[in-house]
């Protein structure tokens, strides 16, 4: 870089001198410097605060997830444990519990009623996460001390049993110590079917229920040290466990099975992290850009005095790195401090305790990011500064001195992009995702840049004589030399876009979480309802003012031939062996005239009613169709309890198997299976254990064969987790939006000095306060509205893409917050713009001219 043209006798550049110069130069106007630093501070503070909250809340949610399973590791099987594996089971973990569970008929001695329950005979300190919640509370611990039992609350209500009543289990009579309101779930096959009754394991043998032929589930619960990687350990054990017919579950596997709420939350937190990163960048980048630009004059002066180009370059690079470092450190400290402050301020609103801890990872990321981004963005301007010639001083320093584009710029652009990809990767943990986000960001930036460019052009064309001077002057500021259109468009537009994006995504995700929390979801399932009982049960449900959420007929059938070929044909034809399995199992099929919200036709046409056509038009789900290699128009013959039915595949459906409810691989139209043997399943929702108990009692009294499954106990735990997840989503987006606004304010605020000189000149020339105010207002009004609008449009597009491709949820945007954000951004921009020129307006021109501005 030293190859500048001035043939000055070579002089050694001392590093010390460069640092000294950097420091001296910064002294010139500390208050102005502070303004620039403040933007860096706020940007980094936002980033650090959001990251720290993100890390801590993620931990909180993980801990909450642990309550779903109650231990770090659960190993279970349905046979007594073989001797060779027992030592292994006894060696795992730091704390161990074990449980035997099985269905059994128990007798409520007081009322004389018999009922199927799920007995869980427990020994040890399980659950290690969460608790058995009982009324009275101490029963959860005390029942282990004697011949006591804990009984599902709804069950107690149903049989009008009270604490201290007795319950006969096998040959033993237990005293009911408490009603069970909540227990970590076991989703094994045995769970769910019957209400839970806990007894101490030491009494199990005496009940006489464990004997040859008894069907007992054996579970072993383990707690590990915090730093044990349980998933890894479990994977290692898998083969051995498998050999012993045991299987395991960890918190992680449970989360994966729990549906999408956890994944959605993780993705949302990543998104927030990415937004925070960009907010940090905006804060830092916009301030360094403006700062360096203002230094052009000083650099030219230095050059006149004999400072080499690369020396000038280094002086300012050092200076900016220093400013970036100081700003970032203060910002990181502030961001961490906010974490401690906020929970105190919001104490009354927080539904649960937020863990507060300094996240060194967040702090480190904040500081590194602050320094690197300030250097990179400074470089962008500084490399062109290498070419500033001393002559610049002599000419008007107000002139835009823009030397020919330096090819090095592209290198710097590349570095910036690479850097953002890298940091995005740290947040998102996926290269394609971070590349995607970066590309989206570049596109957004490009659109804003184009908009700014167009704006300048259009305004230049539009501004004409007949307009009032004030309007012309205000608009002209947008394109005249020393304009700030591009930089403000970019920072205001991007901040608005991110804020809106969070607003949109947040409401969509909250809807999603709400959908899966039990409020609107079935928590009571009745099955084996016979056709002649269906009407009665629906009426009964309505009588209890409970909703019939789903009511489906299920017909069992077998597949007999595919396009005329039976299993025997396929057996001979080894090449198409994959189809053989299709004939093995029974198909549970339903019929209806329309699709549900969880289904979408991807091929063919849905036919909801079988006309007189010989072949019945059926619909297959895409996975089944793919596995069976079945195409539209293929003929399948189903054997419905002895009656063959020829069907033709009329459509292929995509089924969202995650959505709550019943889904089917094969769906028939109405008008065919009505008479076929079938049973019905009804899904409903009860508001309380009491309601559920009364309802079940009424159903069973009238229809003894109908089985009711009450998911209430399990769902209570789940609901708590989902509540927290939705709260975390709201909190994080609210907090990011607030910090986004602050960063936005800061980035508009740093434009303060851009206009001061002009305003002073105008004042000197006789401009009134009002005129200057108007001119400024005009400029910022235009900038504010246009960039806010562009930002919102970008956010709409971005949220659509996120909804469709990342979260895979229905896109549905509430425009009210968008309009609100538009107004807020526009008003904020104008207000800050006006505040920026307040100093000039309130003082006489001469005072301002004299003082160093």
């Amino acid at each position: 870089m030293a190859n500048t043209s001035t043939p000055i006798p070579s002089r050694k550049t001392s590093l010390g001198w460069l640092f000294k110069m950097a420091l001296r130069d910064s002294r010139k106007n500390r208050s102005r410097l502070f303004l620039f630093v403040s933007s860096i501070i706020l940007g980094i503070a936002a980033l650090v605060a959001i990251y720290s909250f993100g890390y801590n809340l993620r931990n909180d949610i993980n801990n909450q997830a642990a309550t779903l399973i109650g231990a770090d590791l659960v190993i279970s099987g349905n046979k007594p444990v073989e001797k060779n594996i027992q030592p292994l089971l006894d060696s795992l973990g730091t704390e161990r519990s074990q449980e035997r569970s099985f269905g059994s008929m128990v007798l409520f001695t007081q009322s004389g009623n018999t009922r199927l329950v799920q007995i869980r005979a427990l020994q040890g300190g399980y659950p290690y996460y969460g608790a058995l919640e009982t009324v009275p509370a101490q029963a959860a611990q005390q029942f282990k001390a004697g011949q006591y039992t804990l009984v599902d609350e709804a069950l107690m209500l149903q049989y009008k049993a009270k604490v201290n009543d007795s319950l006969k289990i096998g040959n033993l009579t237990f005293i009911i110590a408490g009603a069970l309101k909540q227990a970590p779930g076991q989703t094994g096959l045995a769970a769910g079917v019957a209400p839970v009754v806990y007894i101490p394991l030491q009494y199990l043998n005496k009940t006489g229920l464990v004997d040859k032929g008894s069907r007992i589930n054996y579970s072993f619960y383990y707690k590990f040290d915090q730093d044990t990687d349980v998933d890894k350990l479990a994977e290692k054990l898998d083969t051995r466990l498998d050999k012993a017919d045991l299987h395991y579950e960890t918190i992680q596997t449970r989360k994966e099975n729990t549906g999408r709420a956890f994944t959605d939350l993780n993705r949302f937190l990543s998104l927030v992290g990415f937004v925070a990163l960009l907010l940090g960048c905006i804060g830092v980048a916009s301030s360094t850009q403006i700062y360096v630009r203002e230094k052009v004059a000083s650099i030219a002066v230095l050059r006149c005095l004999g400072v080499k180009a690369f020396e000038a370059f280094l002086i300012y690079l050092i200076q900016i790195a220093g400013i970036g470092l100081i700003g970032s450190i203060i910002g990181a400290a502030l961001g961490s401090a906010v974490q401690y402050l906020l929970p105190i301020v919001l104490k009354d609103f927080l539904p649960f305790e937020i863990t507060v801890a300094i996240s060194w990872l967040a702090l480190g990321q904040g500081v590194v990011l602050g320094v690197i981004i300030s250097i990179l963005f400074a470089l962008l301007s500084l490399i062109s500064i290498r070419r500033i010639s001393p002559l610049n001083t002599l000419r008007s320093a107000f002139e835009d001195s823009r030397p020919a584009r330096d090819p090095l710029r592209w290198l710097v652009y590349g570095l910036i992009v690479a850097f953002i990809v890298l940091f995005a990767y740290i947040q998102l943990q996926s290269w394609p995702a971070s590349a995607g986000f970066t590309v989206a960001l570049l596109v957004a930036f490009f659109i804003l840049w184009i908009t700014a460019l167009l704006l300048k052009r259009v305004v230049k064309l539009l501004v004409q004589g007949p307009w009032s001077y004030l309007v012309r002057q205000g608009f002209a500021n947008l394109y005249r030399p020393n304009n700030q259109t591009t930089i403000l468009m970019a920072s205001i537009g991007l901040s608005t876009a991110f804020i809106c994006l969070l607003v949109f995504m947040q409401s969509m995700l909250i809807n999603q979480v709400k959908l899966s929390s039990s409020g609107n979801q079935p928590n009571l399932v009745l099955f084996d309802i016979q056709t002649n009982q269906e009407k009665g049960i629906v009426a009964l449900t309505k009588q209890f003012k409970m909703p019939v959420l789903q009511q489906v007929p299920i017909v069992t059938m077998r597949l007999q031939t595919i396009n005329g070929k039976s299993v025997n044909d396929y057996r001979k034809d080894t090449s198409r062996n994959s189809r053989r399995w299709a004939f093995g199992g029974e198909y549970r099929v339903s019929y209806r005239d329309s699709l549900t919200s969880s289904e979408k036709i991807i091929e063919g046409k849905w036919i909801g009613e079988a006309r007189d056509a010989t072949d019945i038009p059926v619909s297959l789900d895409d996975r089944t169709a793919k596995r069976l290699d079945i195409k539209l128009g293929d003929k399948l013959v189903f054997n419905v309890q002895g009656t063959p039915m020829t069907t033709v595949v009329a459509s292929v459906r995509k089924v969202n198997w995650n959505q709550m409810g019943t889904n089917f691989r094969v769906l028939f139209p109405t008008g065919v299976l009505e008479e076929a043997p079938q049973f019905h399943v009804l899904l409903t929702h009860s508001k309380s254990a009491g309601q559920s108990a009364q309802y079940q009692e009424a159903v069973v009294r009238k229809y003894a064969n109908v089985s009711a499954v009450d998911l209430g106990l399990v769902l209570t735990v789940l609901d708590e987790v989902l509540d927290k997840i939705s709260y975390v989503i709201r909190f994080m987006s609210g907090f990011s939006i607030a910090t986004g606004l602050i960063v936005l304010i800061a980035s508009v605020r740093i434009s303060k000095y851009q206009r001061i000189k002009e305003s002073v000149l105008l004042r000197t020339l006789g401009g009134s306060r009002k005129q200057i105010l108007w001119i400024t207002a005009m400029e910022y009004l235009f900038l504010g509205t246009l960039s806010a609008l562009t930002g919102i449009v970008l956010a709409l597009a971005g949220s659509w893409m996120l909804a469709k491709y990342t979260f895979e949820i229905p896109y549905n945007v509430n425009y009210a917050p968008a309009i609100m954000m538009f107004t807020i951004t526009a008003v904020l921009t104008i207000v800050i713009g006006l505040l920026n020129s307040r100093g000039v307006l309130n003082r006489p021109p001469l005072e301002i001219l004299r003082s160093d501005i």
Binding site: L68, K79, S104, M105, L107, L116, G170, N171, T187, L189, A191, G192, V193, G208, L209, V210, D211, K212, G213, S214, R215, I216, N257, T258, G259, S516, P522, V525, F527, D528, Q530, T531, T556, R558, Q560, T561, V567, G584, G585, E586, N639, Q641, G642, P644, W657, Q659, M660, A676, P677, F679, V681, A704, N705, V706, S707, V709, L711, V714, L715, L718
Partner: protein, 231 residues
């Protein structure tokens, strides 16, 4: 997660249905899949009679790789063939079915002529804790329907037992239900369908409920001991 549970439960419903026993339709109705060999037999030799095994998953051969061949009704078919008897076995098993489900289904299945009716239902009732009284009523109603429609049909009932973990009182009542029904309706009784199979780990699938291929052979033997005399 809810979904998860629901799925489990539905599976469970399915399983429950499966649990039951029987001989059902899988092979059933000869029409279809049933082994062509057997079907041909009837066609060649003059009058072919039908054995309907009406039951749940035990009959349907739930979980077997090849229920067409391996479920116990199929094994019975082989035995019949070996004995050179003019019977075609129809598998009327429906996984997850309870006695109430069977009662709803019986009319549909009885559309075809039945000469020997083997009833294997009630296992799912027991596992779900349905009161023995209810199960008895339903099974009786099924038997009545068969008698009504085919008064000449020979009747067989398969006894079932509940694991001791269900509690002594219930298991005793439950076990007693089948001999009572057999006596009342003059049916041949298979004392315990899963004799020498139930509770023996290696003869059952991983769920501990449904017999393996080997288990199904023993089950077929249990039934055959009674059925051969009926035929």
């Amino acid at each position: 997660m809810i979904q998860h549970h629901l799925k489990k439960i539905l599976t469970l419903a399915a399983m429950a249905a499966l649990v039951a026993c029987s001989d059902s339709n899988t092979k059933s109705t000869d029409a279809d899949t049933a082994k062509s060999a057997e079907q041909n037999v009837p066609n060649q030799s003059a009058p072919v009679k039908t054995v309907l095994v009406f039951g749940d998953s035990l009959t349907a051969g739930y979980g077997l790789e090849d229920p067409e061949d391996d479920a116990y009704p199929s094994v019975l078919q082989q035995k019949i063939k070996e004995a050179n008897l003019p019977y075609n076995v129809v598998n009327g098993g429906n996984s997850g079915e309870t006695s109430a489900g069977g009662l709803s289904r019986i009319d549909w299945v009885l559309k075809r002529k039945v000469d020997v009716f083997v009833l294997e239902l009630g296992a799912n009732d027991g596992l779900r804790g349905v009161p023995v009284k209810t199960t008895t009523q339903n099974l009786q109603a099924i038997i009545d329907k068969v008698k009504d429609k085919y008064p000449d049909a020979k009747l067989v009932i398969c006894g079932m037992q509940m694991p001791p973990s269900m509690g002594a009182a219930y298991t005793a009542d439950y076990k007693a239900m089948f001999p009572k029904l057999a006596e009342k309706n003059h049916m041949a009784l298979v004392p315990f369908l899963l004799e020498n199979v139930g509770g023996i780990a290696k003869l059952n699938q991983a769920d501990g409920i449904h017999p393996t291929k080997e288990g199904a052979k023993i089950v077929a033997n249990n039934v055959w001991k009674v059925l051969k005399d009926v035929l």
